[in-house]
């Protein structure tokens, strides 16, 4: 069933898009991630213009993360103050990201930068996750516990001003590194159409020592804030958010997420993380292959705004 997208100005197969949203929702429910890092590339690989894929993908991330965040809110496992500090950095970062996005689009290097960033970040995050989860699985097989990493306190961060106490996370830390983290994630998120949970969660756990019970809810609220700003600015400045596409993806995603979350109960945590790592690496590899193989058609055309 073909459906015409008013902003992308092309027809798409509605069932394909719905299925794509559901598949991403399934994976995000299964693995506890936003899924933007899979959705945006899939849309690009399916032929949606990169700019529209990123803009509409951002809207889908808003929906999936607010859905997940609401359940963390009910369980009172959100450090709202921490989320707001991270989110304020994220809002700034995402504004910069959207501006850079528009600039790159005009000079014709958007696809390249997006591909390179996906390769780099997915490669690093996926690689680290795979190593960590495989080590845990191997150790579990051999019947010995995986040693926890030694606490690496941020010594330099202790000397920074503007210390704030985050009671829920039992944390006293300067807001400067938090805002910097949010800013970096917001920038990447707006540029790539991803929430950045893959990067925020490890950073909060390993660098800031935020309790695991608070990490996911807090990071989700931060993602909602950041990606809301990203979606609005993409729509206003770049006019690349397709309402119809976003709606289909959101509906598919909401349904898929429920099945994913149910399946998650059956699988072990480290198995899930290994699966996630392989997925992340596969997407990164696909971008890398596209970057290095000689293209069939070297030329491309894009309409320029008058």
């Amino acid at each position: 069933m073909q459906l015409y997208l008013p902003i992308a100005e092309m027809p798409v197969n509605m069932l394909l898009m719905l299925g794509m949203g559901a598949a991403i929702g399934f994976v995000s429910g299964l693995l506890g991630v936003g899924g933007g890092f899979l959705l945006t590339p899939l849309l690009i690989f399916a032929g949606i213009p990169t700019a529209v894929a990123v803009g509409s993908g951002a809207a889908q991330v808003v929906a999936s993360s607010s859905s997940a965040a609401s359940s963390y809110f009910r369980r009172r496992s959100v450090d709202l103050r921490l989320a707001l500090v991270l989110g304020s950095g994220g809002a700034i970062g995402s504004a910069i990201g959207v501006t850079v996005f528009g600039l790159l689009q005009r000079v014709g290097q958007l696809d390249l930068v997006i591909a390179v960033l996906y390769v780099t970040f997915l490669g690093i995050v996926g690689g680290l996750m795979l190593v960590e989860s495989v080590r845990t699985i191997v150790n579990a097989r051999r019947g010995r516990p995986t040693p926890l990493r030694p606490a690496r306190q941020l010594q330099w961060a202790q000397n920074l001003p503007f210390k704030v106490r985050f009671r829920r996370s039992r944390l006293v830390v300067s807001v400067i590194p938090l805002i910097a983290l949010g800013l970096g994630i917001g920038f990447l998120g707006a540029l790539l159409g991803i929430g950045g949970g893959l990067m925020v969660v490890p950073a909060l756990i390993y660098i800031f020592r935020v309790p695991t019970s608070m990490v996911f809810g807090t990071s989700l609220v931060q993602i909602v804030i950041t990606m809301t700003v990203a979606t609005v600015l993409h729509a206003v400045l770049n006019q690349t958010v397709d309402a119809i596409l976003a709606l289909i993806l959101i509906i598919g995603g909401v349904i898929g997420a429920q099945f994913g979350a149910r399946s998650a109960a059956v699988l072990r945590g480290e198995t899930l993380r290994a699966l996630l790592a392989i997925l992340v690496l596969a997407v990164g590899a696909r971008f890398l292959v596209d970057l290095v193989t000689p293209p069939v058609e070297r030329y491309s055309i894009s309409e320029t705004e008058i």
């Binding site: 073909q2 459906l3 015409y4 008013p6 902003i7 100005e9 092309m10 027809p11 809207a59 889908q60 808003v62 929906a63 999936s64 993360s65 607010s66 859905s67 997940a68 609401s70 359940s71 009910r74 369980r75 014709g108 290097q109 696809d111 390249l112 390179v116 909602v224 809301t228 979606t231 609005v232 600015l233 729509a235 206003v236 006019q239 958010v241 309402a243 119809i244 976003a246 709606l247 959101i250 509906i251 909401v254 349904i255 997420a257 429920q258 979350a261 149910r262 970057l291 290095v292 193989t293 000689p294 293209p295 070297r298 030329y299 491309s300 055309i301 894009s302 309409e303 320029t304 008058i306």
Partner: protein, 252 residues
């Protein structure tokens, strides 16, 4: 007697535009509306030669040109840089977004290339490559132009076909154009050119419009003209749908 009359007309036709054939155009549609189920459309162009009863279809040839709105494009070319394929060269192009030709015979057999170029037939004549500062060699620009046409043809937006025009009756032609689903919106012009012995003996033009309708038009306008409300509506829709999904499928 008949032969004489034809010979007389031929002489007259060669004599000047005063004897040009009256050509009348009719389109199967005046407006193509893009709705959510739009997957492309056909437009039939009817051309009638009003010659007062004396018309020999055999020595006439018809060319029908359908042209979409003009737009500016950027054509880019990838080159290998340190093993990565990166957009290096870029040439601005001004060209119609849609351009299709149908003719009763291959264009080269209908008239000389210069005559066709004078009449604006052939997509090459429509493509202007502005060269501010002229950084590019003519050969490079020719490459980009050829690539541009090739890509547009691949997208179904440019085409040239001979022999697809029906002649249901004497002096009546029907050319059917297939507009693809990715057709750009705007005003399209249709012009029909009647040739005889390599010379233009009649021409007519008409136009139709491709528009988005209903929700498609509304959303497109909203995204451009009321960008802030449009943006907030999407975000609210996203948060609400997400929240609703969480409530409906509540597990805790």
């Amino acid at each position: 007697m008949r032969r004489v009359a034809l010979a007389a007309i031929a002489t007259l036709a060669g004599a000047g535009p005063a004897t040009a054939q009256a050509l009348v155009l009719a389109l199967s549609t005046e407006e193509i509306r893009i709705a959510s189920n739009f997957t492309g459309a056909d437009v039939s162009v009817f051309a009638v030669v009003d010659s007062g009863g004396v018309f020999n279809a055999m020595d006439h040839q018809l060319i029908v040109v359908m042209e979409g709105p003009n737009a500016r494009f950027m054509a880019r070319r990838k080159d290998s840089v340190l093993g990565l394929w990166i957009n290096r060269g870029a040439v601005p192009v001004s060209a119609p977004e849609f351009y299709a030709i149908e003719a009763t015979a291959p264009l080269g057999e209908i008239a000389a290339a210069e005559i066709l170029a004078d009449e604006g037939v052939g997509v090459e004549t429509q493509i202007i490559t502005p060269t501010p500062g002229t950084v590019f060699a003519p050969a490079v620009i020719a490459d980009f132009r050829a690539a541009f046409i090739r890509l547009q043809q691949g997208a179904g937006l440019y085409s040239e076909a001979a022999g697809l025009i029906d002649t249901p009756g004497a002096g009546l032609y029907r050319a059917t154009f297939q507009l693809p689903a990715n057709i750009p919106v705007g005003v399209y012009t249709v012009s029909a050119l009647l040739f005889r012995g390599g010379e233009l003996v009649g021409e007519a033009a008409d136009r139709f419009e491709v528009t988005k309708t209903g929700a498609e038009q509304f959303l497109f306008d909203a995204s451009r003209e009321w960008a802030w409300p449009y943006a907030f509506a999407i975000v609210i829709m996203a948060i609400f749908t997400g929240w609703l999904g969480g409530v409906i499928f509540r597990r805790d």
